[in-house]
Point group: C2
Chain length 196, copies 2
């Protein structure tokens, strides 16, 4: 009977991490939200779709012809870090300890979900890698992230054989306690131990 | 640098139950979502704001002059159930065990959050109650819900003294285990025990 509200609930329920209950909760919230918040949100969604594209070089969001990182001549043009998402890129940038370029995959390979190499931003990586000195594979330490990194390693070994490949180190996160660490992380920490 | 994306992140982070991280996650999702999903969502938000109002009788959402429940002559016009939200109303309706009318408060009294009687849909309740046989207080079994029910009880005792007041029963939820039940619920179950 309230078609508009039902439609909004269903659309919100499809957002990642939400479901039927939280979709309904947000729909009622947006219906009742004071002031112009809901209208602003709707316009902000449309603006992002209209104004923001993917950087044709690295895939990072940008409203210009290239993203700020690719545009910055002071960044190390010979190093490319492959990340899964713009959020990962932002997390790395926030450390201020990396000065190279990026390549944003927008996902991982996921055979179970039917996502193959053509479904992520891989097309241009081999060509970019051929002109680089190092490609750092910074996919997440998950099954999909690892599988994606391995696939990229194989492809680059064939298509850009001169580039140095590396992966982010695994081990103990700062502040973690060994007694609570999962066995795999302990194995990684041991295998990757550093001499003094 | 990506003003539109940052703006969308911030707006999404203000939704109830979300925060900075989930706001960013949803913003990137909406930016990249395939097809017309994001545009549909934006339009659905605007449509809800334009087309759906609060029923002037009970506060339930409606796109017409009265909500479907208030419009239905077959519902028991002498019983009013006071609920906090349209979601609570929907949960009660889904049981098909209540045939009366509703009064949707759209919130609770919350002195700490600065929400007083003027901030929820209470204005018309006393007048409606004066014409009813029973008012069922179905606020949530929380501190705010209880305080709101108590406040309404006091007001109706003064402004609609002839109406019968009741509250939903408390006790054990179906499928719960006594050994895991909180002490207050056990107290309620004991106090409200029913003779055979």
């Amino acid at each position: 009977v309230n078609d508009e509200l039902d439609n909004l609930k269903k659309l919100l329920a499809r957002l990642p991490g939400l479901g039927e209950k939280s979709g309904a909760r947000l729909a009622y919230h947006l219906w009742r939200a004071p002031g112009q918040y809901s209208e602003e949100l709707a316009r902000a969604i449309l603006a992002v779709r209209e104004k923001i594209g993917a950087c044709p070089v690295c895939g990072n969001p940008t409203s210009e012809d290239k993203c700020v990182i690719c545009k910055n001549p002071e960044r190390d043009q010979k190093t490319i870090m492959v990340v899964e998402s713009p959020q990962d890129l932002a997390a790395i940038e926030s450390t201020r300890s990396y000065t190279g370029l990026y390549h944003v995959l927008h996902g991982t390979l996921s055979p179970l979900a039917g996502k193959g190499p053509g479904d992520i931003n891989l097309e241009s990586l081999a060509r970019r890698a051929a002109g680089a000195a190092e490609v750092i594979l910074a996919t997440n330490p998950s099954a999909e992230g690892d599988a994606t990194a391995s696939y990229i390693e194989e492809r680059l070994a064939a298509e850009a054989p001169d580039v140095k490949l590396s992966r982010l180190a695994r081990g103990m996160t700062v502040g973690s306690e060994i007694k609570y660490l999962d066995p795999l992380s302990i194995q990684h920490a041991l295998k990757g131990r550093q001499g003094k």
